[in-house]
């Protein structure tokens, strides 16, 4: 990676002449003509007597640092200082390598036009200029060094926090372009740019692009994925064209070209603040074998085990949450336990990362005020982050991330003279920075006291000898005189440059008189006159016998600050401490709704081992040590499966911009942290299909999840279930109810819906043929032939055509349902499930013949025109005709009452309870490709079940326990305990805030 680095030798020294050319730098000059008199002030300096921290692992007292030509010439102890070098005495001070900001936009001028989408009308295309990418959020071709210009205000903010270098790019867009690494401070950009082509910055947010696509997080991820494939294709296509120019010339694309070496270039990804963002980035990187530094959310401590797996470095913002303001009872209402916990726990994040060996670098990114950086850094150290790691995270780690590890990060000969001088340990709350030096150039924050008085002195007043002690900060010295056990504080103590005056008695006892001292300091000596009370004068002298050392080693005395917020995952109310244990269980005497042929069995036992149902029968003997649940009077059903849900999705449910978006995947944006997952468990739901929305005819790929509350996104996915894509028809896709702005996207009628779908199916068919042709070529010919452009959306559509991906299609009216079935038949595949399908009862026979199942609302109707003929007899009528039917929620709340929704099918259509329970269990399992291992209570299947207090389809039924794979995820009794604990913890944290505000105000 370091190979990328190009160092600009503008006006800088030639290394190698270090020993001989101590005073005379070989000034090579630059390209910029000098107007007026040339500045040739020597820049060499020697710093002595300081405490020198040269790297996270090495520091010493009484060090000497010699700098010259912007570089460290030498550093160590006992070094001979060449004559003629200006010496700066740092007695009582410390030197640290200056910090490096790995992620920011310091000094970047945005040259692009400020576009505004004034009318709010959808924008489907980007301005195409100079071979740019099709999407405005992709501008990887921009080298941000071209737009770097020092900016004093931000520079000073960063300098004040000890930084000397920033890696910068405009933080806008998805492929943002390449960052540059620059020195802070004023000067010619030519002299300040250390690395003009550093990392590729990538994010999940399209920023200020006015183009509609992508509107969702999953759209952003799909766009990144497609672009990464485009790079591969682009490289291959151009290589093939070179071999064989007799083909159609492949396109030029400046953005893709800029990314052509991405596999070896450095990458930084901003994955957003939502906690699982990091894991989303990880999955994407793993898919392409890439590594990158990722901007952390600050919540890594909540799921450290996942973060540990992450091989790359993190870039950690220190934007701790503000303390929630709580003055009244009403204020408490708006604050969640999650907020309270994070407020208390956030400063410990870095410590947790360190304890788990996760390498990270700090950044000022996301801080509202950069001036709070050091304060927050010190909070992190106070929580137990070691100073060594803290320093590494500010120096050598960010140096690596910026690709300047050989140039900065430590104070070593040949490296940049980037350091700061402070009065002690930088991690101490009161430590102040005097100056920051960037490449040997001083930026003063606060004047260094010229004369240092602090120290222990032997005080001679006439012949009398006693001790004088001056201690504290140079700006706020205090002093005392001491004789044996006796001591007295100095009064009227004042220091002005090298002059000192004070009054003090020098004896104990009643007769002691106050003597007035005044004097001057010269090196180790203070000499002057003193006046006694009787007007007599005398000489006095103080000789410094020892210097007071800067306060550098308080580390051991520092105990990590305690805090008591619990950490669970998700780190919020009802988040579990751990995943529930898998248990072997025997359920006795239950009424078992098998959702199988044998229907409802009374007084039945169920044996569960290793997360599976083993036996269902009567009088099963309990194997020894097994947990026995007496379910007498209770009912057991299979776990409810919601065939249509939008649970656990981060960001928009729709990539509703383009009419065709098979490239997006809900699987990329599973959000396991929604409390509604738990609430649905409380309604007996164990699995669901999380669907893309219905904003476009060809929507996105969906994700089957099991509601393993407490697991991470990957673990929540049911990877055995079918791959499913969402299609949609009718009012939504023709944008009937979207408002006046939306009148331009094709299609605007049901007529066009068929046309565009047919076009996509045809394209997929031909795409597959193109690939087959290409893949049949010899290895040699492949190299000479431009491959078909890989399109991840069409890849999904090929799976659809080959029946490798199920189709669930949102549909309302009978005509469109019939249209789609006939169209699919033409292309040789089946529409597996018609969703909603509120006129399904009108085409039930046609559906059976085609092989389509359905998932429908029990009784919704009349909310739009296309559902005016919806009837609550829909499910029963379709089922009567032989359609595989389920009732579903499509609603986070309603999902908690799917048992009642199934009961409504009985209420209206009079089906049997055995059939009704299937409509929310096994039938859904079939529709999601899960029937082999869940959906009913049968030996060998996953032990996904619910224990009910009452007849499960009754309005009076409550789910008492919900189990998935032999693990109990919900228990109505434990729930009561959890609520009490939540209340307790909330009160405790709120009390802490109240007391904190009483003491310190609301800051």
């Amino acid at each position: 990676m370091h190979g990328v680095f190009k160092f600009r030798k503008i006006g800088q020294a030639v290394i190698g002449l270090l020993c001989t050319a101590l005073l005379y730098s070989v000034c090579l000059g630059g390209t910029t003509p000098v107007l007026g008199i040339r500045d040739k002030t020597p820049d060499a300096r020697a710093f002595i007597n300081g405490h020198m921290v040269i790297s996270p692992t090495e520091q010493f007292d009484n060090g000497i640092l010699i700098i010259k030509d912007g570089k460290v010439l030498e550093i160590g102890t006992g070094i001979k200082i060449p004559d003629g070098i200006t010496i700066i005495d740092l007695a009582g001070k410390s030197i640290y390598p200056a910090f490096i900001e790995p992620f920011g936009d310091y000094g970047i001028i945005d040259h692009r036009d400020k576009k505004q989408n004034k009318y709010g009308k959808p924008v489907y295309t980007a301005d195409r200029i100079g071979g740019n990418a099709w999407n405005e959020a992709i501008h990887a071709e921009i080298n941000w060094s071209r737009f770097f210009k020092p900016d004093n205000e931000t520079s000073n903010e960063l300098l004040s926090q000890g930084f000397a270098i920033s890696q910068s790019a405009k933080q806008d867009g998805i492929f943002r372009g390449r960052s540059c690494v620059v020195l802070l401070g004023d000067g010619l950009p030519n002299d300040l740019i250390l690395n003009s082509q550093s990392a590729h910055f990538i994010s999940f947010s399209k920023g200020k692009s006015v183009q509609d696509y992508p509107s969702s997080l999953m759209g952003s991820i799909a766009l990144i994925r497609q672009t990464l494939f485009d790079i591969e294709w682009y490289n291959q296509a151009h290589t093939a064209y070179k071999y064989n120019p007799a083909q159609k010339m492949p396109e030029f694309n400046s953005a893709i070209e800029a990314l052509s070496n991405i596999s070896t270039d450095r990458i930084i990804i901003d994955a957003g603040v939502k906690s699982p963002g990091l894991l989303r980035a990880k999955s994407l990187l793993d898919e392409f074998g890439l590594t990158a530094s990722v901007i952390a959310s600050g919540r890594e401590y909540c799921h450290i085990n996942d973060v540990k797996e992450f091989a790359s470095k993190l870039i950690l913002p220190l934007d701790f949450p503000e303390m929630p303001e709580i003055n009244t009872f009403a204020d408490e209402l708006d604050v969640t336990l999650a907020q309270l916990r994070h407020w208390e726990s956030a400063p410990s994040n870095a410590m947790v990362l360190e304890q788990n060996d996760v390498k990270f670098s700090f950044t000022t990114y996301r801080l509202k005020k950069k001036e709070t950086f050091l304060t927050n850094l010190r909070k992190a150290v106070k929580r137990g982050l070691s100073e060594e790691t803290a320093l590494a995270s500010l120096t050598i780690t960010p140096a690596e991330i910026c690709g300047i590890g050989d140039l900065a990060g430590t104070l070593e000969t040949g490296k940049l003279a980037n350091f700061f001088i402070c009065d002690g340990n930088i991690f101490n709350e009161k430590c102040e920075i005097y100056s920051v030096w960037t490449a040997g150039k001083k930026h003063e924050l606060k004047a260094l006291p010229k004369t240092l008085f602090a120290g222990k002195y032997e005080l001679k007043v006439g012949d009398d000898k006693l001790m004088l002690e001056l201690s504290g900060k140079p700006s706020k010295l205090t002093g005392k005189v001491k004789r044996d056990e006796w001591s007295s504080d100095l009064k009227k103590f004042d220091i002005d440059r090298n002059k000192i005056r004070f009054s003090t008695p020098i004896d104990s006892g009643k007769n002691a008189v106050t003597i007035r001292f005044s004097g001057r300091k010269d090196k180790k000596f203070i000499t002057g006159r003193c006046v006694y009370a009787n007007g007599l004068e005398a000489n006095w002298q103080a000789i410094r016998v020892s210097e007071l050392k800067p306060d550098t080693s308080v580390k051991d005395a520092r105990k990590p600050e305690a805090f008591f917020a619990a950490t669970t995952y998700p780190n919020k109310a009802f988040g579990p401490q751990d995943l529930p244990d898998q248990k072997d269980i025997l359920i006795k005497n239950a009424t078992v709704w098998t959702a199988e042929q044998d229907g409802i069995l009374k007084n039945t036992d169920i044996l569960i081992e290793d997360g599976k149902f083993v036996r269902i029968g009567t009088e099963i003997k309990a194997p020894s040590g097994i947990m026995v649940i007496d379910a007498g009077g209770k009912h057991v059903t299979p776990g409810i499966i919601d065939a249509h849900s939008h649970l656990a999705i981060a960001g928009d449910v729709n990539e509703g911009t383009h009419a065709v978006t098979p490239e997006v995947r809900i699987g990329d944006v599973v959000n396991p942290e929604q409390v509604n997952i738990y609430r649905q468990l409380a309604g007996g739901v164990t699995a669901c299909l999380s669907l893309h929305g219905s904003a476009n005819p060809i929507g996105g790929q969906c994700q089957v999840i099991k509601l393993r509350w407490g697991a991470n996104a990957e673990e929540m996915k049911d990877k055995q279930a079918a791959e499913i894509i969402k299609f949609a028809l009718g009012e939504n896709v023709k944008q009937s109810n979207w408002g006046e702005k939306y009148r331009t996207r094709y299609p605007q009628s049901r007529l066009g819906v068929e046309a565009i779908m047919r076009d996509v199916f045809q394209a997929a068919l031909e795409y597959e043929q193109d690939w087959k042709k290409f893949n049949a070529l010899s290895k040699k010919d492949k190299k000479r032939t431009i491959p078909p452009h890989k399109n991840i959306g069409l890849d999904a559509m090929v799976k659809v055509l080959n029946s490798d991906m199920m189709v669930h299609c949102h549909s309302y009216m009978q005509a469109e349902a019939l249209m789609l079935m006939r169209l699919a038949e033409e292309y040789g595949f089946v529409i597996d499930v018609l969703i909603h399908n509120l006129e399904g009862y009108k085409v039930a026979d046609e559906m059976v013949k085609h092989g389509a199942g359905t998932t429908t609302f029990s009784d919704w109707w009349a909310y739009k025109f296309e559902v005016y003929d919806a009837i609550p007899y829909n499910a029963s009528l379709m089922a009567e005709r032989g359609v595989l039917t389920t009732v579903k929620s499509d609603n986070i709340d309603l999902a908690r009452r799917l048992n009642q929704e199934a009961a409504k099918v009985i209420h209206y259509g009079g089906i049997s309870p055995e059939e009704a329970i299937k409509m929310i269990t096994i039938n859904a399992a079939i529709q999601l490709g899960m029937e082999k291992y869940t959906g009913s209570i049968a030996p060998g299947k996953d032990a996904d079940f619910v224990i009910w207090n009452d007849y499960p389809l009754s309005s009076y039924a409550k789910a008492e326990q919900t189990w998935i794979e032999g693990r109990k995820y919900f228990d109505i009794e434990s729930d009561k305990t959890i609520r009490k604990e939540i209340k307790k913890e909330r009160n405790k944290l709120i009390q802490k805030i109240v007391e904190h505000s009483a003491k310190n105000g609301t800051k």
């Binding site: 209402l333 969640t336 009784d859 109707w861 739009k864 009837i871 007899y873």
Partner: protein, 428 residues
């Protein structure tokens, strides 16, 4: 021949029209006896094996083995359940046919201060929604205008009638007010900043205060001199200050409720709280000020992340235990047909069954001040009665077999049943 064809055509047209509409029940012209059911009187307990006799639209007698006049129509309901008709305490039935079709939506007027709006005048008695709701036992509904801040006055209508006039149970039941939100929340696609939203919320409250100030100014002037020029808006508010009608204030958040109660005291009017999600936090406030609650949206997600999953299911039970006067509403149009099931859920989460029934009948009648006519099965009250095959609160057993509104027999057919029957006949 031509005449025959015309006649046929006319006949066809007529039958088509009839197929899509349901004729309102005839005014009761003979006594009817429901014989041998379980009578849920609400006001006087449950009477097994009892008869209910009604005539001229009023209940004449309840008891065992009632002796009936000669021309009595006797309906045997042995083993069936007899309840007072259920009242939808807050709805927009008849104002909205299809939510997303603008032409069929008359629920709200523009502007924020609309006290002179009358909800019932747009009530479409031929709405297909009405029979669908009615067939689940809802006989009567308060029709409420929607909108922002002061939305107008509501009327209580029977869900069977030729015109809104014919369907009228009680006009001008109360003034309606939607309390401004207190928590600034950015909606989807919301271009306003959080600060702007906060400002707007504050301004909304100011607007309310100003409106009530002006209305009061008008009221005092009008009391002194009835001939002053009529401001239609403030004139509609006169009965509020006379305490002839209450103000229904929709408020869910504790702070909204607190502010609204204070508001009702400041301007000295009778208040009814609607929604009341956080009402369980302040039962004393409500009791001290004699404010009843129309609990709505109990089948919904809890309002806050830290809340228990069943917080809203159990709200009716909490209010009952705290001694707050309340009734339940679905607060919707067609959704109101699920009202009994919503009550069923409340029963599962702690509300006694008889209280659930009261919350859909007598309590509603009391809160709407129509309990002299409706809400219980009592001699002298209107014969607005439903008969169910089983327990009406359990979806599995709820099955309305007879329904009477003021003694008029209600057609229980609806569009859904007809489409069902039609497509059952489909064969290819």
């Amino acid at each position: 021949m031509r005449i025959i064809i015309y006649t046929l055509l006319i006949f066809m047209i007529v039958s088509l029209v009839q197929a899509h509409d349901y004729v309102p029940g005839k005014i009761q012209d003979h006594p009817i006896l429901l014989r041998g059911g379980t009578v849920y009187t609400v006001s006087d307990g449950i009477k097994e094996n009892s008869d209910v006799l009604f005539n001229d639209g009023r209940i004449v007698d309840i008891g065992e083995n009632i002796i009936v006049p000669e021309n009595t129509e006797i309906i045997n309901v042995t083993g069936k359940h007899i309840y007072p008709g259920l009242i939808a305490a807050y709805s927009y039935i008849g104002l909205v046919e299809i939510g997303s079709v603008r032409a069929t939506n008359d629920r709200r007027e523009i502007g924020t201060i609309n006290p002179n709006i009358l909800a019932h005048i747009a009530y479409n008695p031929d709405s297909e929604i009405i029979p669908s709701v009615r067939s689940n036992g809802i006989t009567t509904a308060l029709i409420v205008p929607g909108g922002r801040l002061i939305t107008g006055t509501s009327s209580l209508l029977n869900l069977d009638g030729w015109t809104w006039e014919d369907a009228t149970e009680k006009l001008n039941v109360g003034m309606h007010l939607i309390w401004p939100a207190v928590k600034a929340v950015k909606g989807y696609d919301d271009k306003r900043s959080l600060e702007e939203i906060k400002k707007e919320l504050r301004e909304n409250r100011e607007v309310l205060y100003e409106a009530f100030d002006d209305a009061k100014v008008y009221y005092l002037a009008q009391q002194a001199d009835a001939s002053i020029k009529k401001d239609l808006r403030w004139d509609a508010m006169v009965p509020v200050f006379d305490k002839e009608i209450p103000v229904f204030i929709q408020a869910n958040d504790y702070r909204q409720i607190d502010q609204a109660v204070q508001f009702s005291k400041d301007y000295d009017f009778n208040m009814i709280l609607v929604g009341g999600r956080d009402a369980w936090m302040c039962p004393e406030l409500l009791k001290d000020n004699k404010i009843p609650v129309i609990v709505a949206w109990t089948q919904a997600l809890p309002g806050r992340e830290d809340d228990g999953y069943d917080l809203r299911y159990s709200l009716p039970a909490r209010l009952y235990e705290a001694g707050v006067k309340f009734c339940m509403a679905q607060a919707g149009g067609g959704w109101s047909r699920n009202l009994p099931f919503q009550a069923g859920q409340a029963i599962a989460f702690g509300l006694p069954k008889e209280e659930a029934l009261r919350a859909l009948t007598l309590s509603v009648a009391e809160i709407l001040d129509v309990d002299q006519n409706l809400g219980s099965l009592e001699v002298g009250k209107k014969a607005t009665i439903i008969v169910s095959d089983g327990d009406i609160f359990d979806i599995l057993t709820h099955k309305i077999i007879y329904e009477f509104i003021e003694g008029k027999k209600v057609d229980l057919n609806n569009k859904h049943k007809e489409l069902y029957e039609k497509y059952r006949q489909k064969s290819l």
